[in-house]
Symmetry: C2
Subunit: 236 residues, 2 copies
Amino acid sequence: MFVNRVRESWGKRVAESQEKEQPRRRQARGERRIAQLLEAAASVFCTTGYTAASTNAIAREAGVSPGTLYQFFPNKEAIAIELGDRLMHEMRDTFGEALAPVDPATPLEEAVGAAVDRFIAFNCDHPVFFALMHGPDIPGHIAEEHDALHATLLARIEGLLSSLLPDSPPADLTRTAHMCLGLYKAGLELVLGHEGAERDAYVQELKHVLIRYLEPLVGDRLGRVEGSGAGATAAR
Amino acid sequence: MFVNRVRESWGKRVAESQEKEQPRRRQARGERRIAQLLEAAASVFCTTGYTAASTNAIAREAGVSPGTLYQFFPNKEAIAIELGDRLMHEMRDTFGEALAPVDPATPLEEAVGAAVDRFIAFNCDHPVFFALMHGPDIPGHIAEEHDALHATLLARIEGLLSSLLPDSPPADLTRTAHMCLGLYKAGLELVLGHEGAERDAYVQELKHVLIRYLEPLVGDRLGRVEGSGAGATAAR
DNA sequence: CCAGAATGCGAGCGACCGCTCGTGTTTGTC
DNA sequence: GACAAACACGAGCGGTCGCTCGCATTCTGG
């Protein structure tokens, strides 16, 4: 919602204590244009990626002129940031806090399966999410917002895991969370790359991977290691 | 080694039956320049990615002029292609056929562990490989060579798997190979993103993931499913 | 030794990109 | 209806990028 902020602080440094950004009253038409532009940007980012997407192409897709686009966004990066922001909020709204608390009594397969299904469904509904997440081919410093997205997801996963693995060292927990997110992203790429039955099969495989990966760790919680003595169960 | 081919068929369509490309005799100096340029390209691709890497930057890094670069490569894509080609060959030379045959008697952990160690070591030695593999932010059709790389790796993995899972339907086998490669790429990203002990820990986690993922499938080979009745053991 | 091929240079062409700016139109307010 | 602010336009500016071209230099076969 901070679509317009940078603009006025460009030509000249604003008076020092002028931190109060006057909210630049928007009309309904403006809000509509913003939504229109974000939708167009999502479409273009999806098909060409962030860097290859031209602002002119986004404006064209939205049916407006380049100048109009820059009435609402100070630069190209802001479009991606606002888009990411709205996706974050939509994710929060969609999932609610339904993912945070996990009853330790829930079977692992059920917990993982439900989480994966939700995430996959969300990513299928909003393919931009994947595009922004996976290939922003960072021109140097867009990482600022990309990292925010990433960190939020990681925190969420870590929250999930901490209820599954309450007595795991924080370092291990963070590492496990990174692994889970990485595995999920890998699976997601394969899932989105296929259709119909094959897609479902990949979803199943992804669940399989995560369950199998987490099973022995959760097993530790019960004081029992059931594996066949494979390499160090708690790495490092 | 097909560095020069496109050049002559540009201005005018070459005489129809002139498919015989005259090999454009190279002097030792030229070969040296090519190696120099590829090394520079590797460095630049590594730090900026493919699309963001400018041919002028590559030439500068190699200490030559842009014109000189285009004496040896018809366009930017050809640089990436030749680089990928040489990496492919180097991989073949490094690994030999040592990865192809897997004694079914070898413990799964050992086989996976060895394969992962080799691949990781190779990727650490040649970081460009990851850069070309993971984020070529395809400007449309570089996929031609990118897919060749991908397909070669997949075939290699499928070969490995087929000796582990001889009686698996081909479709399942292909899917499993895709999963393994995806999981490996995800793990590799995390491995390369850390240093020292933490890196080793991620390597261990990656092995853990792959072993755990493949274990029940290999178990099927013995006619026994040892899992806790998790979602379909043979997916789809 | 010399003709011609291979190599090397670097200014610069054309295309595109992110973004601006002067100008005109719509909208809300009194 | 008048006036200002918000909105919309689109030519075009400054810059970069992939790549070219004319010309100089170095190598090599005869």
